[in-house]
């Protein structure tokens, strides 16, 4: 274990949604290279509190890369320099002594800044809600493997289901589009037999809800590069295909797919 020394942090401070906000520069004299990036902010906050200053507000919850709460644009990259990693799982060994680290919140019209580095990502919830329910047999727990799903299909569905809804795709997208998120949520159910009855209604509703908040996809691929779960842009193609089908397909003909 070694330590990093003399880190300069340029952190975005904004007292509320209406405030213009500005970068504030702080020094952190020493930190272990085993500390996570959020622990760096913890150290900074303890420093600020001891100086009687207001702590930096940032989102965090599980700190093990699965909840999707942490965010942060670090040196211009969503979730920082390490691929397939959330900010909480990014460790200080990815940086060097004397580095200047710039930390900014996600920026999108749909993600207004609440305070400092914390943004409101609830438009994602609106997209999920608009997708509605799937019809499933209720009652006692069903037997395992009652519905046969080919292994590659369930793998593909699980790959999409990995999405933790952190919003890095929107943050990284030059257009502020949420196609990767919506695509992942759509692909997650549309690939499985359980998702078929409402497949096209769901796709249509979710895409149109997405349009109310977010930009459009121009196939840069930044979303997938920023995604901590490495969700592929293939899900966007599936979303586009199913959205077209939702407009063209007659309800009666759906089974002929």
């Amino acid at each position: 274990m070694s330590h990093l020394k003399n880190l300069t942090l340029k952190v975005w401070r904004q007292s509320g949604p209406a405030d213009a906000g500005r970068f504030e520069t702080h020094e952190v004299a020493e930190i272990s290279d085993e500390a996570s990036f959020l622990e760096l902010l913890d150290v900074l906050n303890e420093q600020l509190i001891s100086e009687n200053k207001e702590a930096v507000v940032f989102d965090h919850d599980c700190r093990e890369g699965i909840c999707g709460t942490c965010s942060l644009m670090i040196n211009g990259v969503a979730h920082g320099p390490q691929r397939a990693t959330t900010t909480c799982q990014l460790h200080m060994r990815s940086f060097k002594s004397n580095d200047t680290i710039v930390v900014e919140p996600w920026r999108a019209a749909a993600f207004p800044i609440i305070k400092d580095l914390m943004v409101d990502r609830s438009p994602f919830d609106r997209i999920i809600e608009s997708g509605g329910y799937i019809t499933a047999v209720t009652g006692g727990a069903p037997d395992g493997n009652l519905i046969a799903v080919p292994k590659p299909v369930s793998d593909a569905a699980m790959d999409s289901a990995q999405c933790i809804g952190c919003g890095a795709c929107v943050a990284a997208c030059p257009n502020g589009a949420a196609s990767l998120f919506t695509g992942a949520k759509i692909a997650h159910l549309n690939r499985l037999p359980q998702g078929q009855p409402e497949r096209y209604q769901r796709t249509e509703a979710m895409v149109e809800k997405m349009d109310e908040y977010f930009g459009s996809c121009t196939n840069h691929g930044e979303c997938s590069a920023a995604c901590p779960k490495e969700i592929s842009v293939d899900v966007i193609a599936l979303m586009n295909k199913d959205y077209r089908a939702s407009k063209f397909k007659s309800r009666k003909e759906i089974s002929r797919d």
Binding site: G16, V57, A109, N175, S216
Partner: protein
């Protein structure tokens, strides 16, 4: 969590969840309905893009006739006027194709413009620190610029070889309708014009390099069996167009076509 009454956030002012995807369907013609959304506009971009790619390819192939001499190229130009003749009167098929291309261009422009507006509104406050793009290519990030420059080039190109207004400027000849070969040589013999054609076609190639790949995603043509070929197709198509089109001004300047 820090909340204040001034927080104008979704979380605080939202209506209850509907919990259902079953909504009253809008009764609009389905094509309009599709086009009203961002995904539908991407379909419009892709389909109009394919139509214009088809044009650009056949335009380039047709122009290769200039290497066979004046007669071959002029004859080819006449052939375009009598497409499907005598089933249709002269020029009718040509105008049908032109009408299709013009509407495809307008559709491409309208979709691009409205998607750009949507995207601008999606991020009204830019990142205040420098972005470090991971995979976005120069081509994909300059689509709007390459597109606008190619559009300006298209206007010049029509003024040059269709209307002839700028064809003979600065030369001692005059534009003669129908003498395609001579018009080409007269125009491209001007080094500045030739350089403009070369640059514009390279930009067209950059536009196609991203566009021809993007089509597959926008149309939902995604299949592990051919996904690896999509990049190759776009690169190959862009290369063929650029090499073909750039060869014309270079051939004129080099005196191969004279």
């Amino acid at each position: 969590m820090v909340t204040s009454p001034t927080v104008n956030s979704e979380a605080l002012r939202r209506a209850p969840a509907t919990g259902t995807a079953l909504q009253a369907r809008k009764k609009r013609p389905f094509l309009l309905d599709l086009y009203s959304t961002s995904v539908g506009k991407k379909y419009a971009m892709a389909i109009s893009g394919i139509a214009m790619m088809g044009f650009v390819l056949f335009h380039m192939i047709g122009n290769l006739k200039m290497f066979l001499g004046a007669e071959a190229l002029d004859h080819y130009a006449e052939f375009l006027q009598v497409l499907l003749y005598p089933i249709l009167p002269k020029n009718v098929m040509l105008w049908i194709l032109r009408g299709g291309l013009i509407s495809m261009l307008l559709l491409h422009l309208h979709a691009a413009w409205s998607l750009t507006q949507l995207n601008r509104h999606a991020r009204p406050v830019k990142y205040q620190s420098a972005r470090d793009y991971q995979v976005a290519k120069f081509a994909s990030r300059t689509m709007r610029w390459t597109g606008i420059i190619v559009l300006a080039y298209l206007v010049w190109h029509l003024l040059d070889f269709t209307f002839g207004t700028v064809n003979a400027v600065g030369t001692d000849g005059t534009f003669v309708r129908g003498e395609v070969y001579n018009n080409v040589v007269r125009s491209l013999d001007r080094p500045v014009v030739a350089a403009f054609y070369v640059i514009a076609n390279i930009l067209l190639g950059i536009h196609l390099f991203h566009g021809a790949w993007s089509i597959f995603q926008s149309l939902g043509w995604n299949n592990p069996r051919f996904n690896n070929w999509r990049r190759g197709f776009a690169t190959g198509f862009a290369t063929i167009i650029v090499v073909g089109n750039v060869s014309f001004p270079i051939a004129v300047i080099a005196g191969i076509v004279k």
